[in-house]
Amino acid sequence: MADKVLEAVELSKSYRVDDRRITVLDNISMAVEKGEFLVIEGKSGSGKSTLLSLLSGLYKPDSGRILLNDRDITGLSEDQLAPFRNRTIGYVFQSFHLIPSLTALENIMFPAELNHDPAATAKAAELLRRVDLHQRDDNFPHQLSGGEKQRVALCRALVNSPQIVFADEPTGNLDSANGETILQLLMKLRREVATTLVMATHSREISSTADRILRLVDGRIDS
């Protein structure tokens, strides 16, 4: 397939809880095209977050392969994956996961600085301005509201202009007004950066705006 940015081949993942083995994902194969907005939809416990973690290289599958830009990343070590994560992938989490000891601006700059980008500060400041938080650049995460934290997290995910952004329930911890704002910002920024977006959500409303929906039921793709 042309312009394929991400491909998963027969992914399976299970966990052991005490003596029980729970299969979370069972033989998942899928692909994501460049620029696509793909929603992974499913109920709580369906395996959305696990699939997102596998696709982004945070987890290793029990079996199967993941190809990012046609490169198999399944067997890469943490340190081999690190530059990939930094330059190719952006993350937005439900719980924001901002570094508590850094200010809003520094949190956004962080991935760019890891990438030795000399324009890290300027890019971060510009992104903050675009999400209307430029006056809060010196605030630490604990000084920000949930919506503000997620806006900072959005900026951080996009500061290195990644090829693909993974968003795991990005509005899950926000009220509806803040959730709507975040979603609009995410869409707007995604268009501006021209990146691929893979989002896990159980919101039908968000799914309705996606280019494609992948529905998960009990760890399998519901076709």
């Binding site: 992938i89 993350y91 000891s101």
Partner: protein
């Protein structure tokens, strides 16, 4: 009702912090209890072996032959069959192997039959000492044989006598150490004393009259009777139970100093207890919040945590006591060479009891603040938005006040010296206060810094991570390091001044006990220019009519006024002297003084400080029991502290010329020439003792190094307190550190970067500690060297850098060791738990 299962579960869930708490409690007791137990063991061994330590029941010590009245009294006892006596003469003299032309300064012990009344002189051959040492023979220490190239059967020249080596001595009961001796021991039979021809007027001889009392119950009575007729203060009568020895006194003083270090360690371990307990209770904040939210009272919660602390405190105390005893097993080896007796280790139950009390007090004191936080914690803690506070400032000041009072009381009780105790606590408060102030200031500066390098910036931020005990770590580590650095710097400076850079122009040989009639011949043998100092031995009887209290004086830890002084006479200042009060040595009112029956005297400032002597004061000396009234006419000081002769009291020649005296001389000569002079003096003027300064300096260096090693050994325990706080801090911030590490990795940082950040954070802590400690140590050592020792100070920057480097490696090693599991954390698992 108490729920014990809850308590055990709390301990299990925070077992790492609990373990550190236990270690800190154990550490707080370790030094003090082990030293207390050890000194009890030493004292009990000394008491048990007291008769052997002095080889007799009654010991009469004098620098002169016994007064006739005392001699008569002893003879009467012997006639009545009450006691048996033996005289022991101890003095230094040159001993030569004439065949090889080798000479050595040796420590002679001339003994009468009967010595030792108690204990045993052990010989290499295993034979009975009384059977071996006969007239015409000697028993020598192995080092004498080595240095003289002799062996048993050879003969050695001592004074005018040629004596045959009969055996080698391994141990003697009343001199268990050879650490402080300037020459090897040689036993000579009293029958040969006259043949030696070494005892002249003014010679430095220790006369020890030993008495064995046939009825042990009469020892005290006879001693009292003898003391009543003895000529005070030159004749000292003691029983084996109350006899003092210089070595014993030195050992007590040294233990006194080590106890100060023990208290210092106790305080730092106390800070560790507070930090570890704070972390342990913070781990439980969520649980406490829930308990409060569902209606548990403060009384209920606190009683559980108090019981938990008591349990852990008990474990810590027991561990501390066990480790103290184990440490005591090692102490005889560590103290090897300076112990006044062979030590049989005993469990000193009073020390164990004191240890238990101390453990309880320390845990109670340092648990107060963390427990107040538990009490003040609101149920909102379950939302993790609120933390308990230690209460108002009043409560904090109150706690600090109680801790200060406790330490002051403990110090005074341990040292049995109020003034020193208060000075020590003030010094300690000053050190920690200064440390705290500088640490606060440095952290404030660091907080504002924003380094360009990403890893460094993250490390800077890491220092201020919530729950990070950065301040406590820096204060404790830098305080303990500053003490260790100071001891090292002072030792090195003393070595540099007195030993390594011994000025080439200063005399390198001292000659003692030259008789005035031998001066001419001595000069001929010497064949080089030498300085001569007449010496008249005397005691200070009173200052301004106030008699010298010998008991109080003997309790002084440095020099004291009860000892015998060497007076001299001359009318000029020595090269290293200058007047600080007065226009000339003896002023211009000499005639006026003479009319009042007084003579002028110039006093050195160091002895003036001891006795608070001022110009114009009247000093009365006792020169062989003849009073000498001297008015202080000037005060001198020494311009440099070097190993060269100096005199506290200088008189006019006419005052002391007629007094019994010897001459002391000092000269500078090549080593080969010195050996030749030693041999000639041993042959022609055998009563003159030669001290080779190079050899003396070697002994001084060995003693200094030994003492410094022991002090550093005990101070190193206080470093452990700092390291335990580092580990506790890492455990307390484990979640935050894992979160940071995971976020870094998610955002594309390699594990190398994470390691770099954590390493840099520890590096920063270590550098701040090292530099702060270095700064304080430099200032403290400079003050001690320039004010106390009066020597020039060398900051030794290279060695300081090495010590700071070792600190950095130690802190990084411990920090990274405790962070290994954090570094290995996989991001996804953590994130799943966090969501």
């Amino acid at each position: 009702m108490l729920n014990f299962r809850f308590i055990f579960r709390q301990i299990r869930s925070s077992h790492k912090q609990a373990l550190i708490f236990v270690f800190c409690v154990a550490l707080s007791l370790l030094t003090l209890v082990s030293l207390g137990g050890f000194s009890s063991s030493v004292r009990s061994s000394m008491l048990k072996d007291a008769r052997q330590l002095h080889a007799a029941d009654i010991i009469i010590h004098s620098h002169y032959p016994l007064s006739p009245v005392l001699t008569t009294a002893i003879k009467d006892y012997e006639k009545q069959g009450l006691a048996t006596s033996a005289v022991v003469h101890e003095f230094y003299s040159m001993t030569s192997n004439t065949a090889l032309e080798k000479s050595v300064l040796s420590h002679l012990k001339v003994i009468e039959k009967g010595y030792p009344f108690y204990g045993k002189v052990e010989l290499a051959s295993g034979r009975d000492f009384s059977e071996v040492l006969k007239e015409g023979t000697i028993v020598v220490e192995q080092s004498a044989l080595d240095r003289l190239g002799a062996e048993p059967g050879d003969s050695l020249q001592i004074g005018s006598a040629e004596l045959i080596i009969a055996d080698t001595v391994i141990a003697e009961p009343d001199r268990p150490v050879s650490f402080f001796s300037f020459g090897p021991r040689i036993f000579v039979a009293a029958a040969d004393l006259e043949r030696l021809d070494l005892i002249r007027m003014g010679s430095r001889i220790h006369y020890n009259y030993l008495l064995k009392v046939n009825d042990p119950a009469m020892v005290d009575r006879l001693a009292d009777e003898l003391a009543s007729v003895a000529v005070a203060p030159q004749e000292r009568v003691n029983t084996f139970e109350n006899a003092e020895s210089g070595v014993k006194r030195f050992f007590e003083n040294f233990l006194f100093f080590l106890n100060l270090i023990g208290i210092f360690t106790l305080l730092l371990a106390g800070i560790g207890i507070q930090t570890a307990l704070g972390a342990l209770l913070r781990d439980s904040e969520y649980t406490i919040g829930i308990m409060k939210a569902v209606g548990a009272t403060n009384r209920f919660i606190c009683s559980h945590f108090i019981l938990m602390i008591m349990l852990l405190g008990t474990f810590g105390t027991l561990l501390g006591l066990s480790l103290s005893f184990l440490l005591q097993l090692y102490l005889p080896a560590l103290f090897g060479g300076i112990l006044p007796a062979s030590v049989d280790l005993v469990i000193a139950w009073d020390t164990v009891f004191e240890g238990l009390l101390l453990g309880t007090a320390v845990v109670g004191l340092f648990s107060f603040m963390p427990l107040r936080r538990v009490r003040n914690l609101k149920p909102a803690a379950i939302f993790r938005k609120e933390r308990g506070t230690a209460g108002g400032r009043l409560a904090q000041y109150f706690t600090i006040g109680v801790i200060t009072c406790f330490f002051t009381g403990l110090t005074i009780w341990q040292l049995e010296d109020i003034a020193t105790g208060i000075y020590f606590v003030l010094g300690l408060v000053g050190l920690l206060g200064l440390n705290t102030l500088i640490t606060q200031a440095l952290l404030r500066i660091i907080r504002k810094k924003r380094p360009r390098t990403l890893a460094l910036r993250q490390a800077f931020r890491g220092l201020f991570r919530p729950k990070n005990a950065t301040r406590a770590i820096i204060i404790t580590l830098s305080a303990s390091l500053s003490v260790i650095f100071s001891i090292y710097l002072i030792e090195q400076n003393l070595q540099a001044t007195f030993i390594q850079s011994y000025p080439p122009d200063l005399p390198n040989a001292y000659f003692l006990d030259i008789q005035p009639t031998q001066r001419q011949k001595f000069s001929t043998i010497l064949g080089t220019e030498a300085q001569f100092y007449p010496i008249i031995r005397a005691r200070l009887a009173s200052i301004n009519g106030r008699a010298i209290d010998r008991e109080i004086e003997r309790q002084r830890r440095r020099d004291n006024l009860s000892r015998e002084f060497n007076l001299t006479y001359r009318d000029f200042l020595l090269d290293d002297e200058q007047l600080i009060v007065g226009d000339s040595l003896f002023g211009n009112r000499i005639e006026e003084l003479r009319q009042r029956g007084e003579v002028p005297v110039s006093v050195l400032d160091t002895v003036a400080e001891i006795g608070d002597i001022r110009v114009g004061n009247l000093l009365v000396f006792s020169v062989q029991s003849i009073p000498l009234k001297a008015r202080v006419t000037s005060m001198r000081t020494r311009t440099e502290s070097q190993v060269r002769p100096y005199f506290y009291f200088v008189f006019q020649e006419e005052t002391l010329k007629a007094a019994p005296q010897t001459i002391f001389s000092a000269a500078k000569m090549e080593r080969a020439k010195l050996a030749e002079v030693q041999n000639r003096l041993a042959k022609e003027l055998p009563n003159i003792s030669v001290i080779d300064i190079a050899k003396t300096i070697e002994i001084l260096a060995r003693i200094m190094h030994k003492l410094s090693t022991i002090v550093q050994f005990f101070t190193s325990f206080s470093i452990i307190a700092g390291l335990l706080i580092i580990i506790s801090s890492i455990f307390a911030t484990r979640l935050a550190r894992i979160r940071e590490a995971v976020y870094y990795k998610i955002l594309g940082a390699s594990s190398g970067f994470v390691l770099q950040v954590f390493t840099l954070e520890n590096f920063l802590i270590a550098m701040v500690c090292g530099l702060l400690a270095g700064l304080i140590a430099q200032a403290g050592s400079w003050i001690v060297c320039s004010r106390v020792f009066d020597i020039s100070y060398h900051p030794l920057p290279g060695r300081m850098a090495i010590m700071v480097g070792i600190t950095v490696l130690l802190v990084i090693g411990v920090g990274i060791g405790a962070s290994l599991s954090i570094l290995q954390q996989k991001p996804a698992g953590f994130l799943r738990d966090e969501e």
